[in-house]
Structures are given as C-alpha cells and as structure tokens.
C-alpha cells in the first residue's frame, strides 16, 4: 500500500497520469469529506471545546466565565463523589473486561470442540449481544428482584438465600458486572473465529513435543488468539468506562452512590445541575483516563500479544 502511494507521487508517473491523478485526488477528498466534516464538527471540535469549557464556570444562561483550573482543583480536593464515581467505574470496567475475556474464551473453546449444533449455539449465545438499552435494563431489574426474581429463585434451588441485589451497596456492582457478562457472546464469536484460524500443524507439533490439552492451550491457542483478545480488551475498556443506560435506568446511581458511574455523574452535572464547565472538565478527565489505559495496554501488548509473522 505504501509503495503504491510512493509510485503515484513519483515525478514520472505524475507527469504521465496528471489528469487522472488530479481527478483521483479530488474524488478521494470528496468521498472522505463526510467523515472529515463529521470529525471536525462533532468529534475534534467538541474535544477542543471541552478543553476550554473545562476551564470555565458556565450555566448556559450567562456566558462562560474563565476560572482557570478551579474545576479541576475542586474535583481533586473537595469532591468525594468524583473519586467515588471514578473508583466505581474502574472496578466495574476492569471486572467486566477481565471476566469477559475469560468467559468469552472459555465459551469459544467449548464451541470449537466440533460439537453438534455449533452454529445454533453460537447464534443463541450471540443474541444477548445484539439487544441492549432501556428494554434490557428493565429486564434486569426484574431478573434481580429479591423475591420474584429468577436469580434468587435459581439460588434458592441450591439452598442459598440470595441478597437484595439492586438495593444493597455490596451487591449492586457485582449485579452490573453479571449483566455485562450476559452479552459475552459478542466477544465469543471473535475468539471462535480466531480459534478456527489456528493452523492444525501447530497442535500436531505441540503434541509431538509431548504437550497435553492444557499445555497446548497455554502455548499454542492463547498466543495465537492473543491479538483478538487484545482487540476485545481495548474495545471493552473504552466501552465499559462509558456505561450509562443501565445505571440511569436501573439504580440511578444508588444505593448510596454504589453505582454512580462516571458518565452518569457527568450527565448529572451537565443536564441536571447545568454546571457545563464542571461537566466538560469531567469529560476531559475521562478522556485522559481512557487514553492512559489504552497507551498502557498498547505498551504491554508488545510483550503479551503475539502477532504472526512479526520478527521480534
């Protein structure tokens, strides 16, 4: 690809194809213009604006008032809810992402055993990943209801009295993690595709070297699908840090702020208290946190992720 571009811009080629090349340049920019416009107006613009607004006090009615780093100062020193929401979100995010990888890979490995009806299983496992939003949030309220809910009913069958999930400061967050794991099929199909792409020779070589199933899994399967795991990990971190609908509909941050997710906290400042400056500053913090986690993940991936054909 890179060579193709170099060729196109080399002088000989440029002279000969100048009209076509010019035409292609114009067409290229025309075709990507919807993305460029959308990006500038609705992504990059807002990001820069958030950087500025974060330095102001702004209630929409009166013009923004520049206050320097006052918002950040307040956040770090006098706003326990800020730390609480960051903590809640981080715990939730790390638990869902790690457990999501474990369960996703486990299900994919099970499905990859050449079982009968594999595609039916795969379809059904994937179903929860296509539905989301308010309807599913309502479903969860009822699934986790103490007396009439099915989770506690299932627990009672094995002699456990289930907790009052959504009204207990201890159990709400685990319940939210469980909800996210219900949609683990989304990652699973990707792992499954990855597993199906692992060449059989590698397993044969491993078994010649005396590796059992477990050893083969650790030294062949996992390294071979590690790029897919990494992809899901990054997507998972970015997505789970922004969880909103479930907390808004199911608990509205409660009880006692135990599910006060970061974006819910941001939403409250922006659209309930109309503290636009403070909300924008919260947005910047979210940006920095997610960027930092992404960069750390990429750094670690050099050591942990195996890319086929790359000489190290």
């Amino acid at each position: 690809m890179a060579t193709a571009v170099k060729q196109a811009s080399s002088p000989v080629r440029r002279q000969r194809m100048s009209r076509t090349a010019l035409f292609e340049n114009v067409a290229g920019y025309l075709f990507i213009s919807p993305w460029i416009i959308g990006f500038l107006a609705f992504e990059f613009g807002p990001l820069i604006a958030a950087g500025y607004l974060g330095l102001t006090r702004y209630d929409i009615l009166t013009p923004p008032n520049f206050v320097g780093l006052a918002n950040y100062d307040k956040m770090f020193t006098r706003d326990p809810l800020f730390w609480k929401s960051l903590w809640v979100t981080a715990i939730y995010s790390l638990s869902t992402v790690f457990l999501g990888v474990i369960f996703g890979v486990a299900l994919a490995v099970l499905l990859n055993q050449k079982v009968r009806g594999m595609s039916l299983y795969r379809t059904i496992y994937y179903l929860p990943a296509v539905v989301s939003g308010v309807a599913v949030a309502y479903m969860w309220i009822w699934v986790f209801t103490p007396e009439a809910g099915i989770v506690n009913y299932a627990l009672s069958l094995i002699g456990i009295t289930g907790p009052n999930w959504l009204f207990s400061t201890t159990w709400t967050l685990p319940a939210f993690v469980a909800m996210s794991l219900w949609a683990v099929g989304g990652g699973m199909v990707l792992y499954l595709a990855g597993l199906q792409g692992v060449p059989t020779q590698l397993y044969e070589a491993a078994s010649l070297d005396g590796a059992g199933r477990w050893a083969a899994f650790w030294s062949v399967t996992l390294p071979m699908i590690s790029p897919v795991i990494f992809f899901n990990f990054i997507i998972g971190i970015i997505g789970s840090f922004q969880v909103f609908t479930n907390s808004f509909v199911i608990t509205n941050g409660g009880p006692a702020n135990s599910t006060l997710f970061f974006v819910l906290y941001l939403y409250r400042h922006a659209f309930e208290n109309f503290k636009m400056g403070y909300a924008a500053a919260l947005g910047m913090i979210l940006f920095i946190v997610i960027m930092t986690l992404t960069i750390i993940s990429f750094r670690l991936s050099n050591r942990l992720v195996f890319y086929e054909g790359r000489v190290t």
Partner: protein
C-alpha cells in the same frame, strides 16, 4: 454458516484436532457446560415474553410462575392503545406506535446514510490514490479511541447553537460517517483486487462508477453487517434522545420505555406493560439478527480479523 466454516476447515485443515473417542468425558463436560450457558442466555428472553403475557397480578406471584397460567395478549393491545388503559398516561401524543415509528425512521435513515457515506469514504481510503491518504487514515484510526462521552457537553452546546434541540438532527447527522464505519468498509474494500478497478478504469469508469459498479457488489456482505450494526446502535440509543428530545411526540422507543415506569400517579408501576413494551422494542432487533445472522456473524468475524 456452519457448512461454510466446516468446508473451509476441511480445505485448509484448520481447527483443533477432533476428539479421538466419540463419547469421551471431555465431550460430556462440554455439552453440560454448553447447555447451562444456553439456559443462562435464553432464560431472560423467555421470562420477558412470558411476563408480557401475564396480567399484572400474576407477575408478582411468589414462587415464580414460569408458564403464564392465564396467557393473554391484552397487554399488547393495551400498550398499542387499542383497548382502554388507565395504567399508562399517553400524554402529548406519546404512544408505543408513535415512538416505534419515530425510532424506525431515525434508525433507517441513519443506516442508509451510514452505509452509503462510510462505504464511499472506505472506498477512497482503500482504492483511490490521493495526497495524504495514509496520514489521514492513521489519524482516523487514532480518533476511534476517543470516547464519545468526552465531548458530550460541547456537542450539546453545538446542537443548541444550531437550534437542533428537539429535532432529530443530533441523532442522525453526527452518526453518518463514524470512523468505525469507514474503517469497517475500508477493510472490506482492500480485499477487492486492484485489477478489477484497473479494468473498470480502462473501460472508462470514473471513481464513482468503479465504486458503484465494481466494488459495491463485491462488498455487499460487509455492507449488510455494517447496516445491522448501525441499525442496532441507533435503535437502542438512549443518551442522545434523552438529552436532545423533550417533546413527547419526538420521543424514540427507549425514551418511551423510560417514562413508562413513572406511570400514572397513585397507581402501581405497570410492570406487565413495561415488559410488553420492552419485548416489542427488542423484537425488531431479534428478528433482523435471526434473519441476517449468516451475513452478520460472517461479516463480523471477517472484519475483525482482517
């Protein structure tokens, strides 16, 4: 799909080694695990459907009534406004039918727009030679990491400045050419051989004609997968409608669901109707997925592994 996969597996000799004995312990363990997982994934759906067929009183019965003893479609009729209801408040033209149509319109316009504009941009990134292409593509990849909620406040202010509050524009325009969609289509288009486009060029096709006549027919499965993605995303979207819409006649289906639980003051929350409306709202997604899953899962896995 399974036929495809096994055919591919047979041809390339890929996949794990098959178990040597047919009924090994491992196989039994596998099936038990798969079946338990199946129950976990399916049961919430089943419960939603079964609850939507129950009258309100039966919903609260303990121990849980798995099979409705008095199944009826009354909830569906009530939620559609076909029979008199004193349990929900249809204020200001808000109704299931209306919000269903609103959601459909928004999702369909978005999907059509995204598939067209993103595939056009993806085509440019994959097959056209223009200055700065690689740099632009890399910067687009970088922006895929920017979380949407970061610019929430400024985006709202921009929409307010454009006088787009209480319109559907904020729900439609920004999502038309997202980096993800462009990237997705570009990955598909790179698999189309350059010779095909070169041949079309010699036949006198300009860039748009080679996009439309040569590339689009080849990447239709990728477009189908993107269409389903996009439809699902917009159908389920909640925060955008919540922020930008406060006129009931503009509400989308998720917003309608969200106001249902406030119900009519002085009466219990109409849980049976909430279940019914919830099921109605996920039904289109389930149907689309079940009918199109062949493209979808194939497209999904292909797209992510390229």
């Amino acid at each position: 799909m399974s036929q495809n996969a096994s055919a591919v597996a047979a041809r390339h000799k890929i996949g794990p080694y098959a178990p040597k004995r047919k009924f090994s312990l491992v196989l039994i363990f596998t099936h038990v695990c798969l079946f338990i997982a199946l129950l976990v994934f399916v049961f919430p759906f089943y419960w939603m459907i079964s609850s939507s067929l129950k009258p309100m009183a039966d919903i609260y019965i303990v121990p849980v009534q798995f099979w409705p003893t008095r199944p009826s479609l009354n909830n569906y009729l009530e939620i559609a406004g076909l029979i008199q209801s004193d349990e929900i408040d249809f204020r200001g033209g808000i109704s299931l039918t209306r919000t269903f149509l609103n959601s459909t319109f928004i999702a369909v316009v978005n999907t059509a727009g995204t598939v067209f504009l993103a595939s056009l941009a993806g085509f440019a990134f994959a097959k056209l030679r223009f200055k700065g292409r690689n740099a632009l593509f890399l910067s687009m990849l970088a922006t895929m990491m920017i979380p949407n909620s970061v610019g929430l406040v400024p985006s709202y202010l921009i929409m307010a400045w454009l006088k787009w509050i209480n319109t559907w524009y904020p729900l439609i325009i920004p999502g038309l050419a997202t980096p993800f969609a462009v990237f997705w289509m570009r990955q598909y288009m790179t698999t189309v051989p350059d010779e095909m486009i070169e041949a079309a060029r010699i036949d006198g096709c300009g860039p748009f004609a080679s996009y439309w006549r040569v590339v689009v027919p080849v990447v239709l499965p990728g477009m189908a997968a993107l269409a389903i993605f996009s439809f699902m995303g917009h159908w389920n979207a909640f925060m955008g409608p919540l922020i930008y819409l406060n006129k009931p006649e503009l509400y989308t289906l998720p917003l309608f669901l969200a106001v249902l639980d406030s119900g009519v003051s002085g009466r219990p929350v109409p849980l049976h109707l909430i279940f019914t409306a919830s099921f109605v709202s996920i039904l289109p997604i389930l149907l689309i997925f079940l009918f199109a899953q062949r493209y979808f899962i194939a497209g999904l896995t292909a797209g992510s592994l390229k």
